[in-house]
Amino acid sequence: MSRLLADIGTVFRRELVTVRRTPGYVVLAVGLLIVLGGLAAVGGGGGTGFVPAVVDFLLPTEILVPLLAIVLGYRALLTDTTSGEFAVIRTYPVSTVDYVLGVLLARIAALVAIVGVPFALVGLYVWLTAAPDTGIFATHSGVDSPLLFVRFLAFVLLFGTAYLSLSAAVSALASSRRSAIALGLLALLVGVLGGDLAILRSLSGGASPSEISGLLALTPNGAFRGLVFEHVIGVAFAPDGGFVQTGRAVGSLVSWILAGIVVAVTTLTYAAGVDVVVERTQERLGEY
């Protein structure tokens, strides 16, 4: 077990160095901060509290966080494969699982920094500045609380990790940078629009509305949106909730993460196997 952790740790550290050497990621974080800061400033929700700020952020978050996660992940496993470094790594006693987990964890750490820090900073800004616009009357904060923003941040990171894991799978499947970009974009579109379109389709196809809360939880975006409504925004509407089945939504996000890992590991193992077969064939042919 400790051997496994050590192996993962080694890959993790190596990957972290790679991430750190990519200055573009800092630009992404700054970009996200600008977008969120702009929303807080122009949207007006941040002026009064966390719940309206989250309402302003919800829709942009559903698009931007998957985008950033895919940018972070679409080449994560591809670069090493195409450069041949993965083949070299394979000569060390590091399993494909160790390798994939190590890379993914490093990228998750990067996600936490690139996505988490801008959100946290904006949250801090809201905390410091949100106030009623007149002090003549007695005011209170309603159900608004920084805790709600912490909840939101936790959902954002879980949501981002799901996409990161999926994009890692994409990077394992792709054979070139170009195909990785294409596959990544496809995953983004299917993820952001596809799931909800499928729900709309099934509803217009006669599915019972009572199934919505279950269906919604199946896609990453649906699960995320449902969780935010249930545990952040909805707290201000109704004490009893019911926007999504919480367990199912969290389970769904975790399943997407695991699915990404499984696909990545399988692909790399299988691809490596194919390589070996090809090389052996070449060798054999060479002999003759």
């Binding site: 122009v42 009623p132 616009d133 007149t134 007695a138 159900v143 805790l147 909840r151 941040l153 201000a236």
Partner: protein, 659 residues
């Protein structure tokens, strides 16, 4: 790392809805519900049990006068949509505060005994104690005290759960709307009654039977007419019996000292006179100062004696049933001054006041005197009509020019202000101050003034007005009110949302050509629409989509520019703008300083009125009065029988007025 995990876990374990704020001083709440400044409340020593509520989405603490107002608001879905659900409510309890009833049966107490969470208090219902609005619900902290009060006043003690499920008959602005046509009819009846009063046999003719008007009045028996033939009469007249003074192009010219005609008797009619030579004392500073020392005086003694004791063309003191018809007054003080229950019917009165308002006074000053004014004209001076505690007054078909305020109501409720025209008013065309209840302000046309209509109060119906070329069209200061079918054109600012906590409906108004259609002061987001019906905003329908597809926010810089600058459409269609607009209407109570119309209308509600006021020829300057009586009558016909009780009750009240 560990800290992050703990904080995140903690964020899910702790329920933010469970932290309960402590009660605040009632004066610091934003008030909804019954008005505490109606005449009945101000004059008597009645106590309204109050409640303060903390809503989940609203940053302001809402205070309600009367428990019933709060409970009734719970069943109105709009409250939850706008403010969220109540986190906690505190009621004022009256243990050891001498709870009792006044002689009139109103609930009274010596202050309140602190705030108790609503679900912990005990409530006395069905007792003989009442509030000016109906049944009183009186909270107590201890069950024994509640039971003892209940035993003394034949009520029953119930808990909060039972109060919450009770239905309270709380009048709304829609009730007030349904009363508007009948108030117009009431005015007609009063005028008919006045004509009957004035029609008396001739007994004395001035110049033939008596040398002066004053002497003629002296000589005439009650219930007869004194005829004043053509000519100029230099005198002042005192009328202390019920007679009719009928002039025929006659002019009474006073000595520029004091009032010209003074009426001390009931049912006096004065018609066909021109009056000038009025003294220029507008107020009585001595009276105001003297009364301030006496504690036993009424709460408004200052205003009464200060404003009610100046000079006037016609001054009536405790003279109910006064009829003023076809009179022209030139004055630098008041035209007509009514005091102490001088209920008057005024038709075809013309008052020419001072050039600058600081030098003059009111066209009509009415103190505790219900007036019915029709077809009159007020130019210059301070206020065209100033009423203080004149519930049930009607002002209609009259014209106001170059005053400070055209019509100015203080502590005056249940009034009808209809089909008047105001031009060039320095402060405002129509203003209602203090917190009266149940006024209807309909069909008026105000232009070129600082403000069109500024009405505070509660349950006010402000509709079918045409407000053109003013600095401000109207403000929404009246709470729990209805603002509809107003045409607001070419003002610097069309409408201003003023109250902190939105409680009124603003719907089916047309906003055209204003520099800014609407602006909002501090407070929660105002949703200006009623269900699927919004307002018409010029500019909301430009661009590729029909306007009803998307919300319009007059307070957003982009939407506000749509009717002036077509390029704003391209900005509005930007993803950034679309993203921001998308969920805007969610958690309205927690948003601030803005207005949203989720369902703007694609065409104006009253294109004919807009066409007239925007037409470049002289026709455009003519007064425009919407046919609100026809529209409201058809509305009343459609109403179901649940409103019958209200209507009957008010018809009864109107009939009672005559007796």
């Amino acid at each position: 790392m560990t800290l992050a995990v703990v904080v995140t876990a903690g964020a899910f374990v702790i329920d933010p809805a469970e932290s309960v704020p402590d009660p605040v001083a009632y004066d610091d709440t934003t008030e909804l519900g019954l008005s505490s400044e109606t005449d009945a409340m101000m004059a008597g020593n009645a106590t309204l049990p109050r409640i303060q509520v903390f809503y989940s989405q609203l940053q302001y603490v809402v205070g309600y006068n009367g428990i019933g107002s709060f409970v009734a608001s719970l069943s109105d879905g709009r409250t939850e949509r706008q403010f969220g659900y109540p986190l906690v409510a505190y009621v004022e309890t009256f243990d050891h505060r001498d709870p009792d009833t006044t002689d009139g049966g109103l609930f009274t107490a010596t202050g309140a005994g602190g705030w108790t969470p609503a679900e912990e208090a005990y409530y006395v219902v069905g007792s003989d104690a009442r509030t000016p609005a109906g049944e009183a619900v009186i909270p107590f902290r201890n069950r024994e005290v509640a039971e003892s009060f209940s035993a003394d006043h034949s009520g029953t003690v119930v808990d909060w759960e039972s109060i919450r499920n009770r239905s309270f008959d709380v009048d709304s602005a829609a009730t007030v709307r349904s009363l508007a046509p009948s108030r117009w009819q009431t005015a007609n009846d009063r005028i008919t009654e006045a004509e009957r009063t004035a029609d008396r046999p001739v007994s004395v003719v001035v110049g033939e039977d008596a040398p002066t008007i004053d002497a003629a009045v002296e000589a005439a028996p009650s219930n007869t007419t004194v005829v004043v033939p053509k000519g100029v009469y230099h005198e002042t007249v005192t009328i202390n019996k019920s007679v009719t003074i009928a002039g025929d192009d006659a002019r009474i010219s006073g000595d520029s000292n004091g009032s010209v005609v003074t009426v001390w008797a009931a049912d006096v009619a004065i018609r066909g006179l021109r009056i000038d030579g009025v003294g220029n004392r507008t107020r009585d500073p001595e009276a105001a100062r003297a009364s301030r020392d006496e504690e036993s005086e009424a709460w408004d003694a200052n205003i009464q004696s200060g404003y009610g004791h100046g000079d006037a063309g016609i001054r009536a003191i405790a003279a109910p049933g006064l009829v003023v018809d076809d009179i022209m007054i030139e004055t630098n003080a008041s035209g007509l001054l009514l005091r102490d229950g001088s209920h008057a019917v005024v038709r075809d009165l013309r008052v020419d006041g001072s050039e600058t308002w600081q030098n003059g006074f009111m066209g009509i000053t009415g103190m505790e005197s219900r007036v019915t004014v029709t077809d009159s004209r007020f130019e210059g001076g301070r206020d065209g009509i100033y009423l203080h505690r004149a519930d049930g007054s009607v002002i209609r078909n009259s014209t106001f020019t170059d005053n400070r305020y055209g019509i100015h109501l203080m502590y005056t409720g249940d009034a009808l202000v209809a089909d008047n025209t105001a031009r060039n008013e320095l402060f405002a065309g129509i203003t209602v101050m203090t917190r009266p209840s149940g006024n209807t302000i309909v069909g008026n046309d105000v232009r070129n003034s600082s403000a069109g209509i500024q009405s505070s109060g509660t349950r006010t119906y402000i509709a079918y007005n045409t407000l053109v070329g003013n600095e401000l069209g109207f403000s929404t200061s009246a709470r729990g009110s209805l603002y509809e079918h107003n045409v607001v054109v070419d003002n610097e600012l069309g409408a201003r949302a003023t109250t902190i906590v939105p409680s009124s409906r603003v719907v089916a108004n047309d906003f055209v050509g204003n520099d800014d259609h609407a602006a909002a002061g501090a407070g929660a987001l105002r949703v200006w629409a009623d269900g699927d019906r919004g307002n018409y905003w010029e500019g909301a329908n430009v661009g590729p989509q029909p306007s009803s597809e998307r919300a319009y926010r007059p307070t957003s810089p982009v939407d506000a520019a749509l009717h002036g600058e077509i390029a704003a459409v391209a900005v509005r269609e930007s993803p950034a703008s679309v993203l921001l607009n998308h969920l805007r209407g969610t958690v309205p109570g927690a948003r601030s300083g803005s207005i949203i119309d989720p369902v703007p209308a694609s065409t104006p509600y009253h294109p004919e009125r807009i066409d007239v006021v925007t037409s470049p020829d002289s026709e455009g300057a003519e007064p425009v009065h919407a046919d609100w009586r026809a529209e409201l009558s058809s509305l009343t016909d459609e109403q179901d029988t649940t409103h019958e009780n209200t209507t009957n009750r008010n018809t009864a009240r109107a009939v009672g007025d005559y007796k």
